[in-house]
Symmetry: C2
Subunit: 348 residues, 2 copies
């Protein structure tokens, strides 16, 4: 990481506007005295801009975003905008244009956090979700819309190029972890073409990593184990849609999406990576300072990891751990979004 971290900030919609300032607050605090300063440029993207201009992500803005070291994103989506518009034209466009092929989503049950499971055991795994292919490519269409003869298709596109690079990344991560275990999640007994490509790729790349134990689960069975035996997981590698589903469930199991961080990572560094909480814009609680900024703060921690400052990322995670223990003890509670941010900034 150079002396100045050029950070693009996209608070986005709803609670994105509230949690992002807290992530920045904690980022500033952890960088104080580190020799690195942050230079942020805020981009007003989301529902407001789309209503005002009809554009979700102008090419010029995309070009400017590329000039940054990383992007911090809040949340995208608003009921006033037709479903799919901001998602496809803003969020997914960023992931695809910036080649965020590793959508990295760690799941850790922090001490003191009460999830929904009676006996959760130790949970500490990471999902490597493919980010630029699968059913998310926007391929497909509809014919005779609105008539009884309507047909709508969605095409999942999977390439050896795209699958291999994300599988390689997942194996590297698995090899660097104590348990060294990789689970491929797919549904190759039904989605045979895509499934067999994933399978063969995991087999081939796995041959280069004899130290990593490889496992396979159908996506339906994987959801069962996420609630009956989440400790069994170490690194999960999976496609874009299965990854979307599994990581929301994993977030729930580890205490809720208020704590779930993610990184849209371009491991080749041909474009900036983007860090964002797994949660959405939550219009129902937006503007009320009710949202937990922890997921956004942890996402900022992943940003630091990615830029080579895992020491600082770890300080953020330690602060979160302390704050969550205090919550568990009942020492803190009922705080506003900004108060949680203040507490974490003081702790790092």
């Amino acid at each position: 990481m150079s002396d100045t971290l050029r950070l693009a900030v996209v608070p986005g919609d709803g609670i994105g506007q509230e949690v992002t300032p807290e992530a920045l607050k904690v980022l500033d605090a952890v960088l104080a005295g580190s020799g690195t300063s942050v230079q942020t440029t805020e981009y007003d993207l989301g529902a407001r801009r789309w209503h005002a201009s009809g554009e979700a992500l102008p090419d010029t803005v995309l070009g400017e975003l590329r000039e940054h070291d990383a992007i911090l994103l809040g949340a995208v989506g608003d009921p006033s905008v037709p479903s799919g518009v901001l998602e496809r034209q803003l969020l997914l466009r960023l992931r695809f244009e910036l080649d965020h092929y590793v959508n990295l989503r760690p799941s850790t049950l922090f001490p003191g956090v009460a999830g929904p499971l009676a006996e959760p055991g130790e949970i500490d795994f990471v999902v490597v979700r493919e980010g630029t292919e699968g059913p998310y490519v926007g391929n497909g269409g509809a014919l005779r819309v609105g008539t009884p003869a309507e047909i709508a298709t969605e095409v999942s596109v999977n390439t050896a190029y795209g699958v291999e690079r994300v599988v390689r990344d997942a194996f590297r991560r698995a090899a660097g972890r104590p348990a060294k275990k990789l689970t491929l999640v797919h549904k190759h007994n039904v989605l045979v073409h895509a499934g067999h490509l994933w399978r063969r790729t995991v087999e081939a790349v796995g041959a280069e990593h004899p130290d990593v134990t490889v496992d396979y689960l159908h996506v339906d069975a994987a959801t069962i184990f996420l609630v009956t035996d989440p400790s069994r997981f170490d690194v999960i590698v999976t496609d874009n849609l299965f990854g979307d589903i599994l990581t929301d469930l994993a977030a729930a199991v580890t205490g809720g999406i208020g704590l779930a961080a993610s990184g849209n990572v371009n491991p080749d560094r041909t474009a900036p990576s983007m860090f964002e909480p797994v949660h959405g814009s939550a219009p129902d609680i937006a503007g009320q300072q009710k949202a937990d900024p922890t997921a956004a703060v942890l996402s900022a921690g992943m940003l630091l990891d990615h830029l080579g400052r895992e020491d600082l990322g770890e300080r953020i995670r330690t602060a979160v751990r302390t704050d969550l223990s205090r919550r568990a003890e009942g020492a803190v509670g009922g705080r506003r979004t900004a108060e949680v941010g203040d507490a974490l900034a003081a702790l790092v």
Copy 2:
């Protein structure tokens, strides 16, 4: 139901061979003295037949199956057969050829059953999973297989014809239940073409059912609620793949796939409906009399419901409830598959 119930029985693979006789045992017991007798024809379909003949489902057998009032299926799939072969050529072929467009999967947390959730609340919902379209159609393919230029696609096909009929069925079921609530689960912010077809269809059919409350959840959010607030669900209607995923998770939440029953229903009765446990062939425990036949027995109960004998279906469910309470009290336990079947047959 006529005097003689012509039942086709397909035990299939693995534990399917063990649980199916128990379901038949209970069916015989509940029908005794009812004025109806069962006439079963067993069909040897599954891995053994495929190995012997290279065929998973000969057309002649399919023709014979059509002549029955209903089909009772155990489980399909074996590690000795390449993944996807028995699934696509036998199980899915049956569902598609016999037009099982309603894949009905009730989720009930029976008294005394300990699931993985700390505070499950009351769980009693049913998933109406579309059974003849979506990503299960087998549309798609692969190009340049095994080369670095490989591309594999999977096409989800959704038609107004197919979506409307299953949505109508789901509304009818919702209208007949006390809570009268229908939740559409999809991912229309990403899968916009299929998603909007589902959405518009639910809106249109919903207008004919003003008494039914309609709700929508993205599939990722739905998995969260299944573990944090499963009581909120009454009837869920969803596509073939999302339904596959949600029902395994729902089974886990309600005590495991040992208890989860399903019906592949042709509501128009143009072909026999097929009833099967949600679980697979479980090769790891097959042949050891370890499998819980309860899911198969409950599937036989759904079969009776479908044939108009809900009184008898209810007797099966009551027997299961009693047996599960006895398990909870520790009065019974460690029983072999056949012993559980005996106990249930004695109870109905």
